[in-house]
Point group: D2
Chain length 473, copies 4
Amino acid sequence: MLAEVKGLNEECGVFGIWGHENPAQITYYGLHALQHRGQEGAGIITTDGRNLNGIKGEGLVNEVFDENKLKSLKGKAAIGHVRYATAGGGGVENVQPLLFRSTTGSLAVAHNGNIVNANHLKHHLERKGSIFQTTSDTEVLAHLMKQSGNGPMKERAKSALSILKGAFAYLVLTEDALFVALDPNGLRPLSIGQLGDAWVVASETCAFDIIGAEFVRSVEPGEFLIINDKGIQTDRYTPKAERAICALEYVYFSRPDSDIDGINIHSARKRLGKQLAKEVIVEADVVTGVPDSSISAAIGFSEESGIPYELGLIKNRYVGRTFIQPTQELRERGVKMKLSPVRSVVNGKRVVMVDDSIVRGTTSRRIVTMLKEAGAKEVHVVISSPPMKNPCFYGIDVSTDSELIASGNEIEEIRQLIGADSLTFLSEEGMKNAIGRPDDNETRGLCMACFTGNYPTEIYPDTVMPHEKELVH
Amino acid sequence: MLAEVKGLNEECGVFGIWGHENPAQITYYGLHALQHRGQEGAGIITTDGRNLNGIKGEGLVNEVFDENKLKSLKGKAAIGHVRYATAGGGGVENVQPLLFRSTTGSLAVAHNGNIVNANHLKHHLERKGSIFQTTSDTEVLAHLMKQSGNGPMKERAKSALSILKGAFAYLVLTEDALFVALDPNGLRPLSIGQLGDAWVVASETCAFDIIGAEFVRSVEPGEFLIINDKGIQTDRYTPKAERAICALEYVYFSRPDSDIDGINIHSARKRLGKQLAKEVIVEADVVTGVPDSSISAAIGFSEESGIPYELGLIKNRYVGRTFIQPTQELRERGVKMKLSPVRSVVNGKRVVMVDDSIVRGTTSRRIVTMLKEAGAKEVHVVISSPPMKNPCFYGIDVSTDSELIASGNEIEEIRQLIGADSLTFLSEEGMKNAIGRPDDNETRGLCMACFTGNYPTEIYPDTVMPHEKELVH
Amino acid sequence: MLAEVKGLNEECGVFGIWGHENPAQITYYGLHALQHRGQEGAGIITTDGRNLNGIKGEGLVNEVFDENKLKSLKGKAAIGHVRYATAGGGGVENVQPLLFRSTTGSLAVAHNGNIVNANHLKHHLERKGSIFQTTSDTEVLAHLMKQSGNGPMKERAKSALSILKGAFAYLVLTEDALFVALDPNGLRPLSIGQLGDAWVVASETCAFDIIGAEFVRSVEPGEFLIINDKGIQTDRYTPKAERAICALEYVYFSRPDSDIDGINIHSARKRLGKQLAKEVIVEADVVTGVPDSSISAAIGFSEESGIPYELGLIKNRYVGRTFIQPTQELRERGVKMKLSPVRSVVNGKRVVMVDDSIVRGTTSRRIVTMLKEAGAKEVHVVISSPPMKNPCFYGIDVSTDSELIASGNEIEEIRQLIGADSLTFLSEEGMKNAIGRPDDNETRGLCMACFTGNYPTEIYPDTVMPHEKELVH
Amino acid sequence: MLAEVKGLNEECGVFGIWGHENPAQITYYGLHALQHRGQEGAGIITTDGRNLNGIKGEGLVNEVFDENKLKSLKGKAAIGHVRYATAGGGGVENVQPLLFRSTTGSLAVAHNGNIVNANHLKHHLERKGSIFQTTSDTEVLAHLMKQSGNGPMKERAKSALSILKGAFAYLVLTEDALFVALDPNGLRPLSIGQLGDAWVVASETCAFDIIGAEFVRSVEPGEFLIINDKGIQTDRYTPKAERAICALEYVYFSRPDSDIDGINIHSARKRLGKQLAKEVIVEADVVTGVPDSSISAAIGFSEESGIPYELGLIKNRYVGRTFIQPTQELRERGVKMKLSPVRSVVNGKRVVMVDDSIVRGTTSRRIVTMLKEAGAKEVHVVISSPPMKNPCFYGIDVSTDSELIASGNEIEEIRQLIGADSLTFLSEEGMKNAIGRPDDNETRGLCMACFTGNYPTEIYPDTVMPHEKELVH
């Protein structure tokens, strides 16, 4: 279950708008819809054509901003960012968008992804005199642009982008334009929309629904967009591109009401559940999903298998970050906070528990135990993705093989470790078909590296993974 | 859709515990699980056998309390309360439990419900010299106990309770005992559980799951329990009693993982949805539920009808009370906050939209419009309860007939007003059967007064309804 | 040093206004000026002629209120209150003004002082059926008014007031009028002013300066004022009255810019310092005062003695209530927070340290030690009041003789205990003359009971002193 | 009156410690004592020998930090900073210390002062590829160090410092050492102390008193200190140096309990007041000072002139930044917040009002008017510094001649503008003598440029003054 594993999180969501009289407010609503992509920090930077102004802070979007702050951010364009957890103190410097000032004009950058040659480039840039003030890859782009000569900003941006390897969705705001760029594999989702005369860009289409914008199209891998007062213009910083979007966006990260390349996430998850029901043979009384991300798959499983879907597990909606944790003593007495089993639903029943993935296995074991203590006769765990055996270098914070239970254990061993009566993972083919992307290449346009080990980009020996950045901090 | 209608809310949740070394902490977790029953105020009062001590405040449970505050509330027993909205300022006096001090001992009271003869009794008590400091009915019980002579506390409580008419679940804490009382119709839910050697009482069983307590049984209508260091003792303050629990607890108020009299709420809602599918003939492509309370019914409808369940509407999880509302101008441009339609799911589809009720109709019309703007070809509204035609006097804040769209309009008129392509309500019989309570009387143990007009208690001409109390304030 | 002794504090400040279009705002500013009289809670209740509305909370005036809250309190009249510390939790009920609701009209009460027969009256009232919800004496007045029949409010108030013994300055707000009453000895200060057409009442005249009101006169002992739309009317609830205002109001409690009966507090303190310089013979290099309350006396001492006044002790202005206390270890290393000695001023010097009083002696010892550690060659402590030997029953929270170092020790013993090179207290006659009130009775219109043991009122065997109320809580 | 003029503020206070087991806590207390030097932002960065970690935020020291945050900042050394106001949003980036990360080691910088050739250097650095992320001069030092080659950090720091012109007190923290540097004129105060085995550095000695540290000596102009595990080592980055400390540190900025070069600030101010009394002939009844900074001078004036010192003006202690301002209407009715006249002290009197300076004259006019409205017969304004005619380039935010009333007006004109009965400024010689520094050069070691126009450093045509930086933002 991805959400429950500390550190397993994607990095961030981005939102941008050009040509609106309330750019900060619209960006605020957009970031709100993207809040699930990062809850630890948020920022908005606007431009009025002459200056860049911004506010950022640690916490949720509605903790960082209030009406007066939004009103103070005037202009005609904005970019915004929501950021996932940073460990320890001092994190506010890492909250994006980052703002780079210069006597000849300013630059704000918001970034979602992970640059695999960032460390390599940082060494190179530092030798040339660059100073880094954050631990994020985002600064690398700004320094590359600075170092790439005196040409027009647009050319410097393209030149800098062509050097980067890895996963990135970049929004760059200057006084004159909003640049948008996606990595050559389109590893991260990024969509374009229209709100009246204004152009909007967002990590997920749910940000368009909340503001009433119309979806126009996805940004293409390797594409470079220039949005300014003259409109939107497409360009490329590299001719090479092959779509390999992170499969976990469908399985776990994106909001169920978002679409990626025309495929609705909830519907994709239901198909993953249905496919799973086709691949597994299990006798059971009820199907239940681990909330929130596995509910859709559980409903699909139920529809296909005919085993009724019931609410066997519930997540406490009001559990916030300020929540007081039960003491060890109270915990031993059974006090549970985030997730509770529903005794009357599972007691005496054979339960199919649908989850989206198994990472370390600890959460799965806890939930299985919880269901058994609540009286479940049998617990059959079915996972709507294949076993996760390889680290991700593109922004998902599972960094070493040793953390992945499926990396060193056979399925039967995992079953025993988590205490389930049976355990089934979805097949790779089943996953590709259920998601059903239009691409006709071998991976169907998906990055499935964490399952297969086939990485769509070069991997550098000194790639710094997200969790390691914290150590530098 | 009950949740969306301002003012349509039940009054409160209660929790009590006797015989635990951390009564405030346990009550905190219990109130957390009951948070959906009231988000505007919370309080906890403990006793250490000699004094009563308490903390209360406006806001969510985890806004009112922190670790230090909980630690300061030492003792062996506690009662707690979560309270629904109070309009305007000065509300903190109304936050419960209320504490009444006396030179001979103190008294704390927490109450869920509405006393229909409260106004009548207040006039009487004031003539005898009582002074009221809040606008809540809760004070009435304390004054009646005070005025009923010098006998033992227990007898005075029973005598006072026998005078009250209406809906009430009362927890009364003294230095020596925790008294628990339920009205003669058991209009509000109230359950008893055990946590190790401690006894616990709560409005809903979900509060037992979060603390790891075992459910023992429901409190009986007219029952009066005394819990103290010697254990639990049952008694009655009235011989007359006939169960008539509010049907809306099953349909809307209670949490899906709670049980009432052995019936799981989620399962009851699924059966309401299935029953609805039996009663209606509709051709459609997708079924969707209005989140959160109608999801279970929508899944039931889908299972029975064979029309696939999809996520056509989504609720923004991070919308809190501090949320900045879009301006009129932004609203006109389509900025939506709480609820968004999922365009890719509903576009070009015939949609069955399952909701739990229609009160004023404004929310239903808004959602139907939203779905149509998102491309739905047809929207068929199906409601998992009968038309609501009569005001509630027992704590549900719909006060006048004129607010209820079903009170003055035929179903076809309502359909036109909300803009649906068809509209179906569940039958009264269908509702009773689907909930499936064990009672064999005509109402199957339910209060269905808001649908039928048959009130289980006397109604007084000067009954003050919850929304009117605010006016006095 | 009174301010430093936990628990030695007066109870509260009151402010009232009738006939202004912004009564809540004006009261807010007034309470602000009275903030030094109570920092633990604040409240304002307004009337618009039909209803009473209020807001109150724990904390400083500007923590409890903001612009929106003040705007929500509309009307033409208001009363407000600032309250001193309440120990432990649950204190918000005790924050005043208290609001008593009735089907025939409401009543708000704000009170400064201590009723010595409160416990006696409470027993009596409880026997007649009254219920108390707070531990404050303020409720007693409301219950007495309720029990005193059906006559006009004004008559019931007078009748109730005539039964009370002790110290009280009462503001009572109804929909029609603002009643103002002072105890027969005028133990607490209370002044009347005018702000345009509006009448204002306040514990201290500094509240008039902040709002630009003109001082009119002091309220007389035993006086009862009725302020309403017709103007101000004076009356008496008792013919017996003899002024005996708390001498500590001059010495310590009141703000230096306030006047009491035409005598400016700063000037009175300077005269106390001058008188002290006349009564003591000391050879010294510098005079320093313990901030803030003893600065004026120190300047007076310096003027009279010719020894230069220097800043030997400084109070950290930014130390708020949220301040992190140094750990034991850090404290041992010398970390000081509230008060620091100024080494360069005192090093190698013979220092006269002027303070307003010695209660337990612990603070005096700490300051003397601090000065010596900073290099002071000699520390001569001079106190601008006589030795405090007797408890106060009128609202100053020193409750038992045993807490008063001067109660069981001779001056020489105290000198040794606090480690001073010499110790001098002001004489009783010196104090009376320096304050210089116009009254020609023996006490010159002062209550000096804590010095002399001569109490101006009866004392009841069961008088509850402020600190004991907390225990009941 | 400097404090009242928006924008007239010094930039910041700094604190550093090396060799203590609780460096963050000690720095917290130190910053607390320096809070008067900047209330808008605070930060602390620690090192444990391997990494740098920090927390910073907008607001007061005790708003930015709490116990848990301090505990999270472990290590053996720390630097901290309090910062004066930044206008508008986005200010948190400018809160210091700034942290510069590099693959070969990190660098934290805290700075007090203003670099007059900063803009010149920024242009140069940008041409070489530097990117700036803040508007503060602090970054310039880090970039200069980066660009000055690959030598040891210490040498690069010295080389960078030698290029800077203007006022600066720098603390630089690396994993191995704490560097301390003061500009060649020692324009800003900076002192060294010892706390047990640890070395401490602070803008003012009051920070030593609060933590119980011993003052050792002032940092010398042009001095460069290296503090590390081996102890403290002195060095110089420039041979040229002549002390010219800002005279306003004595007159206004520093806390009265601090010493600069052995001279106590309170005592210096008293001498300024005494000197003023020698230079002016005025017949008056009372002397009063504008709180807080002019109280000491007023007492000195009173001592010398024999005119009694009284409390004619009072500052409301509880006025915080959240204070609700009176509306225009309320203001017209006389509602005053920060400063009130004491009517009973000034009514009918001839008042000497002592203030530290006149900048724009608006505040002086307001106070004179206030005193006259309170009944003062005459108001004689005496200023404990000479007329301020020239802008400051070293960190005091008065930027243009046109803002300075003394720049374009004769003393008699100023007197008329502020409505005083007489107006006297202290002479330049009088000021130098009263402060009484040991230096024997013409300025007695003071920078008096704002009075005389003689700047101790070169002035660059493009010097960016503090208030202008905000415009770039």
